[in-house]
Symmetry: C2
DNA sequence: GCGGGGTGCCTAAACGTTTTGGCATCGGGC
DNA sequence: GCCCGATGCCAAAACGTTTAGGCACCCCGC
């Protein structure tokens, strides 16, 4: 009938902040009125529940689209006991500073987009020693990025009844929570094989000791690879909180110095490069470097560092999906949590340029 | 009346944020019951409105504290037409990648904490070409970090009626929005004076050309300083989207090469250092460097780079405060928006170590 | 003794959804 | 002709707050 084209407001119908119920009536009510049905039917049509005739459903959907209708999240949440808020947080020692931020930001952005599609909003929960923010935030669920081993935050969130999905795993409770992770055993092997293929003889590993799963995954994959290929194990770990230069220096000054390093964090690549300069070693001629997480530094340093693209966008997206699924069919008491593996891609750069004369058939 | 089961019922109101459908009657209702007052009075007491006797107010507050009561944000928002969500976004060209992320993350964290204190949650809105996420997110207001000149996003948000506070200014609409900003004229001068004091004769500036206010502020402060101190203007700009190495190279290879550079972004410091190495210039002996925003790279590079600590925590906190104030007393039509200046601090590091023999009284 | 203004509190009506529990109508099977 | 299930829709009751409006009471001045 009267198909007036209304401006699309943020939600509700034409809800300029100052305006209150002038004439039009509430959002869903207005949609129902224009479609000539009851509010109930409109709600059912929009949510795909209840019994609604096909033609009626179409009509409601069309009206809603025209009006740019979006359900008021407060009202929806009030009735449904949900808040529409998801938390996402990074497990980082507060004093140690945030590392490999780009990886983190990309995960967050991807998760935000994914949540948006299902009418959830993502809140970035700042790291804190006591997890205080989680007490105050009305979250329907939380993504925890790179949990520690036996992470107290997970314990706490569990006790609070907040659904949790992790990115990386808490090593001490193998599969208690749903998680998304890189298949690091494969990724690391790809990196190590690449180093071998470009002529490295003595491949070392620089990993961390934070208790986050990637540290240990890399170490295990590395040890396996050394055993399988009959190479020496040249492994060192950066102490948490320090600048990791010390560990790089230890590795590069030991007797039988490695001629290639696989370093887990982007910042380790940074430190390694500095140590190489300090020791007068050139990259890639004397030492090849592969870093375990791509980022601005790996791309922009000279020489640019070969890196694993861990596909943080995919990780973020899948973590959000998983979390929203868990929230959707809440209890699922007996079922084992779902897990997803994300492949990584090796980005070859100057730091592992094949050496002249190191060709192998 | 008052002899109802009062002490710490294990399944009382106990509204841990994540809990779903807990029993025991509604939250506020339960508080009112235990305090022996009506829901209205309880609400009034908790919000400090209406007329409530002092003793009654105390009683209600005590009960609420004991019960750990927190108002259901959905219900509160439903009635009050607010959502309790604030957006925060960074103006970055999508393809150019995020730069100086640490600065950004620190602002976000600080703003999150500040919002928390007033029962707001902060949503990190991902950058997008079309600003789409803002259509879908039910935000009460938004913080825009480092807006562009004549920023279309600001136009759009304005049209949507969403209150906005910026961090840095949109240069084309001087004071249309409330903002928080570093007092860059002062900060830049401090940096330049420091370079002069450590013996630099020809001080150059490497800034950007993104249209964000800090680029122009730095340029203006630099030109003023050169004029005032009678020094030559050695200014170049990085093209947006490139890695800024080119601009650094232009500056460092021009006739009358600068012996000190003030570079606006942390990433420019990165590029400058690389170019210095490439050209065989040593830092700080041949070229001193000050970067305009501190971060992991400035701290961790060798030599470590002298940097301005822009106090992103303070900026984030104040931006959130400003925004919540604006939302609180919404209309304020005639009043000019509030502005706040945040001081920065120069962190002296190796890249500007005073040269031997360059002492000035 | 009465009006009037304050005070302290309460009842009831919103807010915009989802969900519950229907009521008609229709078409078949007997 | 009757019963029964399926279908399409609706009215009303939640959800937990805030807020408008109002009632009773007290104290004071007249």
């Amino acid at each position: 009938m009267s198909d007036v084209t209304e401006p699309h407001g943020p939600h509700g119908v034409d809800r300029k902040p100052g305006r209150r119920g002038a004439g039009g009536g509430g959002g869903l009510r207005e949609v129902a009125r224009r479609a000539g049905v009851s509010v109930t039917t409109a709600s059912h049509a929009l949510n795909g529940v209840g019994r609604v005739g096909a033609d009626t459903r179409e009509r409601v959907l069309a009206v809603a689209r025209d009006l740019g209708y979006r359900a008021n999240p407060n009202a929806r949440g009030l009735r449904g006991a949900r808040t529409g808020l998801l938390g996402i947080t990074h497990r980082t020692s507060v004093e140690g500073g945030i590392t490999d931020i780009e990886y983190f930001v990309k995960i967050v952005n991807a998760a935000t987009w994914t949540a948006l599609d299902r009418d959830y909003s993502l809140v970035l929960v700042p790291p804190s020693l006591d997890g205080r923010p989680f007490e105050s935030l009305p979250l329907d669920g939380t993504i925890v990025i790179d949990p520690l081993t036996d992470d107290p935050l997970l314990t706490r969130l569990s006790a609070m009844g907040v659904p949790v999905v992790t990115t990386g795993r808490d090593l001490s409770r193998k599969d208690a929570f749903p998680w998304v992770d890189n298949e690091l055993s494969t990724c690391a092997q790809a990196a190590l094989d690449h180093l071998a293929a470009t002529g490295a003889q003595r491949v070392g590993l620089l990993t961390g000791s934070t208790g986050q799963s990637y540290d240990e995954d890399a170490a295990r994959a590395y040890r396996d690879w050394c055993a399988r290929t009959g190479r020496p194990v040249l492994l060192d770990r950066a102490e948490p909180g320090t600048d990791s230069t010390a560990a790089a220096r230890r590795l590069l000054t030991r007797p039988g110095r490695p001629d290639a390093l696989y370093v887990v964090m982007e910042k380790f690549g940074f430190a390694t490069l500095a140590v190489c300069r300090e020791l007068g070693l050139s990259v890639p001629e004397d030492v090849q470097i592969v870093v375990g997480a791509d980022g601005e530094f790996a791309r922009g340093s000279r020489p640019a560092l070969t890196a694993l693209d861990l596909a943080p966008e995919s990780i973020g997206r899948q973590a959000a999906e998983l979390l929203m699924n868990v929230i959707g069919n809440l209890p699922e008491p007996g079922a084992t949590p779902e897990h997803r593996l994300v492949p990584a891609k090796l980005l070859e750069r100057e730091s592992t340029r094949r050496r002249a004369g190191a060709e192998r058939s």
